[in-house]
Symmetry: C2
Subunit: 470 residues, 2 copies
């Protein structure tokens, strides 16, 4: 973040926190320059950025004022999806790869990226912990800490659940190469090619790609943009499609941001046990909540081991370290065998470093900062979209994670919009990536995991312009 | 290694190097104790161990002498295997897991283990390099160095090939979670369930387990214990079984220790190109040669990209780090997509550390020590087996790696022997683990990757006793 962006972020926080109230006059450029020990140009650029974001307004020959209108939030997407619940082979991977390829370069404004900014994570501190544990590693741990993984790390993972009243035994946890390997292990352990698997509508494209790679059929089930999958529709699909698994994100679903209530999770756990359908619970955003407490896991209500709960440290602590885990319930033996024959184990020095960081580090403090940063960025992005996108645009208001689900006017073609956006240096994730039936043609997913700096704001303005022209 | 074992190893080296010649008298226990600054008990235990290994002999009231007979090498297994070349579904995994489970504890003498001693590797030095690179890691590398992997690491890998005259472009290399993930990616990229895959007879059980997990059928092809797979038999199998892939270990095959000549590799590369059958070349022992030069890769003769070459650092430098790679030839795009949807990427800090170690470290020096240690251990184990196993036992004489393939008298039941050995604290890898048709009933694979200390020697004596009892 450049100096002027840091200053703008600081002032934006003061406005959000009410230290600066609507109508308040900001210090003059000269005053602020002296007071903040920055150049007048820096102050000027910061004020310009805040003005572009709609937070302050200049009055000629008078100065800059905090805008007096309350910041209005756009409406949320309302309607639950209505997929046809057919079981169909998935053919989406090549479109997804085409789109991802254009998002993988640093030059592009990462609105379509799946990753938050790596600068949000304590990578330097983690590096020091990794340094310490790598230089003191017992050589025999390279054998002992192979699958199911370092006992110390599994203890630390279990401990975090215990703090929230969920009893998971360290012996029930298996460490994997990120949640993605965990999810794939679950799928291939409970399904054979041609089997039907229930997914949300919309759902994370990696889930669809996994189904495609394994030759599985997707059954898309109606999903509410706030409350997650429709349990009545899910039960009908159980009866009609005889699926071998369902893969759901119960907390801060990607892309919707929906979260299921505790009661709904309890009912979900009962439903999958009743129909004996393994539930693969993809719960990687669980720790990124903006509310007062960590949301429940469906796993917490799983009496008979039908829930395979998967998570990771990639979104919360250690991107690029590739450490995740699965608590596979009744499928534990099979999952362990698949892991052993698929990749043997997860990198041992990295496991040991994470265990040590969790034991001694400041994970809670880091998470608190991360959550409030993401929450503030959600508001920043929401407001920018409200300001620059076409009238009638609806934006989700997720209680965690770092994705907005944006419903553009019905006439918008998100695939076309994405192509024009990429041509002007902005990546987008269009709705059809998130659906085996390629629905959601006027939706995009917007990543708010990067600070809304000048470039990102410019990206949003640009997409807004393109969408209006669309 | 305990003090007396280190002393014994030192004296054994002097005998092997000819500094101590047959008939030479060793220093008395008192002399050696004073000269070596160790206790008399240590010298006594060392002499006892050398006597048990058949290297020295005590003469009453006279002292210890280097044995004067030349050390005799046992005969090698001679006959190439004669499998029936049927395509059959594989059902071996649960037997293999039963056997591996009993070998996974430190209490057991690891004759049946698949891993060499972790003490053979520069883990402390690697830890320091990892420390350094982790604390200076560019946060954006957690995004940039995802699949296909760190360019710096891929450059270093390519450079090692170039040194041997093999041109592999860094852009053709994809970093994986160990060779095992690489091999699995290759299999699933080129095969569908029900397809036939050619394997050696015998072959590494992990290959069979991968086939079983993916629902593939194994076609076992005759393999010579010294020169590897029979190319005429391979060509017949191509014609008769229409396989979708073959998975071969061309250098120091596990379990045989066989190695294909350059000419044979060239012919193999031509054969697979002619029949358009992808060759998955599992080449993890390539760097562990005892001869004067690194053996060739079949990949070096691959003009049209039909060879998918897989290797790793797990056996040569960094066990437990889980870093391998694949050079997938014409299947590059598909393999990259599978890797992205299977596990996204390989741990970034670990990739960066290996790149830095290769660039600055003392890899060559470490490898030279490792190779000569393994070669000496091969001789130690071979002699101990010759001394304690039943008459008529044949032992392979591999030019690299760390496995002996031991043919016991025809009446031996290796599965039964293994069970009795485990009961007395020694793990074994019985022949039937290495074959979809469960052949090789009187063979065992012996790991010589651990020093032949007192415990290992006692383990070999014990297996010899059990085998004699039959």
């Amino acid at each position: 973040m450049k100096r002027f962006e840091a200053l703008a972020a600081d002032i934006a926080t003061s406005i959000r926190d009410g230290l600066l109230k609507p109508g308040d006059r900001l210090p003059s450029v000269r005053q602020a320059s002296a007071g903040r020990h920055v150049s007048p140009a820096t102050v000027f650029e910061a004020y310009y950025l805040l003005e572009a974001r709609g937070l302050i307004r200049s009055r000629p020959r008078s100065g800059y004022y905090v805008v007096d209108k309350p910041r209005r939030l756009p409406a949320e997407p309302e309607t639950a999806s209505t997929p046809d619940s057919q079981a169909r082979p998935v053919q989406i991977s090549s479109m997804v790869f085409d789109i991802l390829r254009s998002a993988m370069t640093r030059d592009v404004v990462p609105l379509g990226s799946a990753f938050p900014s790596p600068l949000l994570f304590p990578l330097e501190k983690l590096g020091r912990v990794l340094a310490n544990s790598a230089t003191h590693m017992d050589p025999w741990s390279t054998v002992d800490d192979l699958t199911p993984g370092s006992l110390e790390l599994r203890r630390q993972i279990a401990l975090r659940y215990v703090l929230d009243g969920v009893h998971i035994d360290p012996g029930d946890i298996l460490v994997t190469n990120g949640a993605m390997e965990a999810l794939n292990l679950c799928l291939s352990a409970v399904c054979d090619p041609g089997d039907a698997v229930i997914v949300e509508s919309p759902c994370f494209y990696v889930c669809l790609q996994a189904l495609e790679r394994l030759g599985l059929h997707a059954v898309e089930v109606a999903t509410d943009p706030r409350e997650g999958i429709d349990l009545a529709a899910l039960e009908r699909a159980f009866q009609q499609r005889r699926p071998k698994a369902c893969w759901l994100m119960t907390n801060f679903q990607n892309p919707l941001g929906s979260a299921m209530s505790d009661d709904k999770k309890r009912a979900l756990a009962e439903l999958v046990a009743r129909y004996r359908v393994p539930l693969i619970e993809d719960d990687v955003y669980n720790e990124l909540y903006f509310g007062s407490r960590r949301p429940a896991l469906t796993k917490a209500f799983d009496a008979d081991g039908w829930v395979l709960h998967c998570s990771s440290f990639s979104k919360t602590l250690a991107p690029g370290y590739r450490v995740g885990w699965v608590t596979p319930g009744r499928f534990a033996a099979r999952i362990a065998q698949h892991k052993l024959t698929l990749s043997l184990a997860t990198s041992v020095p990295v496991q040991l470093a994470l265990a040590r960081y969790l034991e001694r580090g400041s994970y809670e403090r880091h998470l608190r900062v991360l959550r409030s940063t993401l929450e503030a960025q959600r508001d920043d992005y929401t407001e920018a979209i409200a300001q620059y996108f076409p009238a009638g645009t609806r934006v989700s208001r997720p209680g965690g994670g770092y994705f907005l689900w944006v419903e553009l006017p019905a006439s918008t073609d998100a695939l076309d919009l994405r192509q024009r956006a990429v041509a002007s240096g902005v990546s987008l994730a269009p709705g059809p990536m998130f659906s085996a039936s390629r629905g959601f043609g006027n939706f995009i997913r917007v990543n708010f995991g990067h600070p809304l700096d000048k470039r990102a704001l410019e990206g949003i303005r640009q997409v807004g312009r393109l969408a209006r022209r669309g």
